[in-house]
Symmetry: C2
Subunit: 375 residues, 2 copies
C-alpha cells in the first residue's frame, strides 16, 4: 500500500536507501558516547531490535576517541551526529558510515566563514571516506536568517533551508545524501515533508517527529506523521524519537517497524489531524429499505461533486430510505433522502424540493454554493 | 488489553453477549427483504465473513413472509429490525432470535397508547419466543419529547431515552436485552456510551457509529469510537456501518474484527479526537549529550505534576542537553533544559532561573499557575 517512491537510491555502505530499497529504520544511542561499554551495549541493543543504522552524537575530541573504540567493537552501520561541531567532520569520517549535519548550527563557529565553505568541508570529508550525508533540518534550530526571511510560523523556513543545502551539496557534485525536516508537531512534519518532496522528489527523505516525548503520546504523534507521509510515497528511512530510558530504546525501532508494517499492509489507522474540520458527508450503510440501488453510487457521486467545498464546515447527509431519511437529515446542513424514482433535497429541516436521480447533483451544488456564499 | 467488562451476560440463542463472553460482531442485510434469493445470499456472505448475528429489516407483512422463507434457508442467528413497525413484533418473533426496536419510533402509530404499553407488547413477544431484545436509540430519530426536554445538542436526550427504556424493560422483569446509542459523530458516540455505561454498567452495549459513510472515512470514524470505548471496557457487540454495495458488505464484519483484534492486542491507534487540544508536553528522546540521567524521570514527573493543567493550550518543552536545549525551548510557553546539576527554566525565550533537580518541579508549577491566571 506504499506507493512507488520517486527518490533516487543512495548507499550507506551496503545499505541502500531510497527508490525501491526497503524503508530503513534507524535510531540513536542515548548513552554518553565516552562511556564506551554503555555505548557498545546500546548499539547492540538497537541492532538486536532491528536497527539498520545507529547514530551516535560526537561533540568533542574525547567523544571521537571513544567512537574509535566503539567502531572497533561493532559491525553496525554508524552515523555520526554533528550538531555545532561540524568541524569534527574530517576527524570522524574514517570511523563512520554517514555524517549528519544540522544546517541551523553552522553559524555558531567561524562566523565569518561562508556556510558554503563549511558545507564543502563536510562534503569533502564524506567523499574522501565514501560516506553518506544527512542534511538534518530541525524547526527548533533553524538558521536565524531563514527565520528572519521566512518567518517562524509554518514550514517555509525549514523547507527553504533544506532546499538551499541540497543545492549547495548538488553543486559540489555529491549525491549520496538524504534530507530530514523535523518538528515536534506532526502536522508540521507532514506539511514540511510534503512541500519538500514536491520540490525535490529525487532526494531520499529521513522521517522523524523530533521531541515526540513519552509513550503513548510520542507514539501517536509519530504515527500521525509517518502514516500521512508513507501513504503518499514519502519517506525512505525512519527514526522514531521517544523519551524512554537507555534500556528501552529498542522500542523506537519496534514502533518504527510496526508503523511501517501497518502502512505497507494498508492498515492506515491514525486519524488525519484535521479529520473533523471541513466538509462532513454522512451516509447510511443502506439496508433492505433502500428503494433504489442507485443510492450507493449517489453517495459516492455526492462526495465527488462536493469535493470543491472540502474546506467548509458543512454536513451533507445522504440517506437511502423513507423510514430514516426524513428524520436523520434534519441535523445536516444539506440532506438527501432517496425514494424509488426521486431524491428529496433538504436544507436543515426545510424541504428544498424533489428531483430525479439525474437532476439531483446539480441542484445539490446550487444549494451548496448558496451556503458557501452566505458563510 | 480490553479491561474486564462489567456488563451481565445475556443469551441470543446459543450466542452469549456481555460479561466475559467474546465481543460479538454483527451486521445487517442490505438487500430488499422481499428479494429472498438476494437476502439469503447476503446472509451467507455476512456469515462467511464471520458475522455472529445478522439483522434483517422488516417493515411490512410481505417482508414477514419473505423472512419466514429466509429463516428456513439459513442457520444464522437473525435479528429483526423494527423501526416504525414495532406492531409486527408478535408476527416476526417466531422467526428470529432477537428484536431491535427504536424508542424514537414508538410514537408514530397509535399515538394515544402509552409508550410503556408498546414496550410491554414487544417484550411480551420476545419473552414468549425466548428472544433477546435491543433497545436501539439513534440520535437522528430520538423521540421528540426527549429532544424537547433535554435539547438536541449533546448526548443527554439519547442517553436519557435509553435509560428510561431500560427501566421500563426492567420493570417487566425482562433481562435479555442490550442497548445501543448511535450517532454519526464518533465523538458523540463515545460520550453517550460512556455516560450510559456509568449509569448502567450492567447492561450489555451494542456499539455503532451510524451513517459513518463510505470508506475510508467511515472506517476512521468507526475506529475512533470503538477504540475509545473498547479500551475503556465498554462494548459487548459491534456493528460497523459502511456505505458499500451489497456484495461488499462482508467488509463491515472484517473491519469490526480488525478493530477488535487491534484493541485486544493493545494496538490502540486512532488519535483521540481532542489530541491536539490542551497541554502539550514535548520532550527530547535523550542522547549521549544528556548530562544527568535524571532527565528521563524529570520528563515523566513534569507530565505528572502538570496534569492538572491538561485543558490549557500550553506547550511545555523538556530538553536534556545544552546543545539543543536553549534553542529548542524558545517556542514553548515553558521550557526546561537540563544541565549536570541544574535545570534551566524558561518562559518562551526568556530565562526564569536555574534550579536544582529538587527545586525545579515546584518552580515549574508556580510558572504554570501564573500562565493559567493570565490566560
Amino acid at each position: 500500500m506504499i506507493p512507488p517512491r520517486r527518490s533516487r537510491t543512495i548507499r550507506i555502505r551496503d545499505l541502500a536507501v531510497g527508490g525501491e530499497a526497503p524503508i530503513a529504520v534507524q535510531s540513536m544511542a542515548a548513552t554518553p558516547t565516552r562511556d564506551i561499554e554503555a555505548t557498545v551495549r546500546q548499539v547492540e541493543l538497537l541492532e538486536a531490535a532491528g536497527a539498520d543504522l545507529v547514530r551516535i552524537a560526537v561533540d568533542s575530541e574525547a567523544d571521537v576517541e571513544a567512537l574509535a573504540i566503539v567502531r572497533g567493537r561493532t559491525r553496525a552501520l554508524l552515523s555520526v551526529d554533528l550538531q555545532e561541531n561540524y568541524r569534527l567532520a574530517a576527524t570522524v569520517a574514517p570511523l563512520v558510515d554517514k555524517i549528519r549535519y544540522n544546517p541551523g548550527h553552522l553559524h555558531h563557529h567561524e562566523k565569518s566563514k561562508p556556510v558554503r565553505e563549511k558545507v564543502a568541508m563536510i562534503v569533502g570529508a564524506a567523499r574522501e571516506h565514501g560516506l553518506a550525508l544527512r542534511i538534518g533540518v530541525n524547526a527548533g534550530s533553524v538558521a536565524p536568517e531563514y527565520k528572519d526571511r521566512f518567518g517562524a510560523e509554518g514550514v517555509e523556513a525549514i523547507v527553504r533551508s533544506a532546499l538551499d543545502h541540497c543545492a549547495m551539496v548538488d553543486e559540489l557534485g555529491f549525491t549520496d545524501y538524504v534530507v530530514s525536516i523535523k518538528d515536534s508537531d506532526p502536522r508540521l512534519v507532514v506539511d514540511a515533508n510534503v512541500a519538500f518532496a514536491e520540490a525535490r522528489p529525487d532526494v531520499p527523505l529521513h522521517l522523524g517527529v523530533t521531541e515526540a516525548g513519552m509513550p503513548p503520546d510520542g507514539v501517536i504523534k509519530t504515527r500521525i506523521a509517518f502514516e500521512q507521509l508513507l501513504s503518499r510515497g514519502i519517506g525512505d528511512t525512519l527514526r522514531v524519537s521517544l523519551t524512554v530510558p537507555f534500556d528501552d530504546k529498542g522500542q523506537e525501532i519496534e514502533v518504527g517497524r510496526a508503523i511501517l508494517a501497518d502502512v505497507e499492509a494498508g492498515r492506515f489507522r491514525s486519524v488525519p489531524p484535521n479529520f473533523f474540520d471541513g466538509l462532513n458527508i454522512i451516509a447510511c450503510p443502506s439496508c433492505s429499505r433502500v428503494e433504489n440501488t442507485r443510492f450507493i453510487d449517489l453517495a459516492q457521486e455526492v462526495k465527488e461533486v462536493t469535493a470543491y467545498a472540502e474546506d467548509h464546515d458543512f454536513t451533507i447527509a445522504v440517506m437511502g430510505c423513507r423510514v430514516n431519511g426524513p428524520g436523520e437529515t434534519d441535523d445536516a446542513d444539506l440532506g438527501l433522502w432517496c425514494g424509488p424514482n426521486h431524491v428529496n433535497l433538504k436544507r436543515g429541516e426545510e424541504s428544498v424540493g424533489t428531483y430525479t436521480y439525474d437532476e439531483i447533483l446539480p441542484k445539490l451544488r446550487e444549494e451548496l454554493d448558496r451556503l458557501i456564499a452566505k458563510s
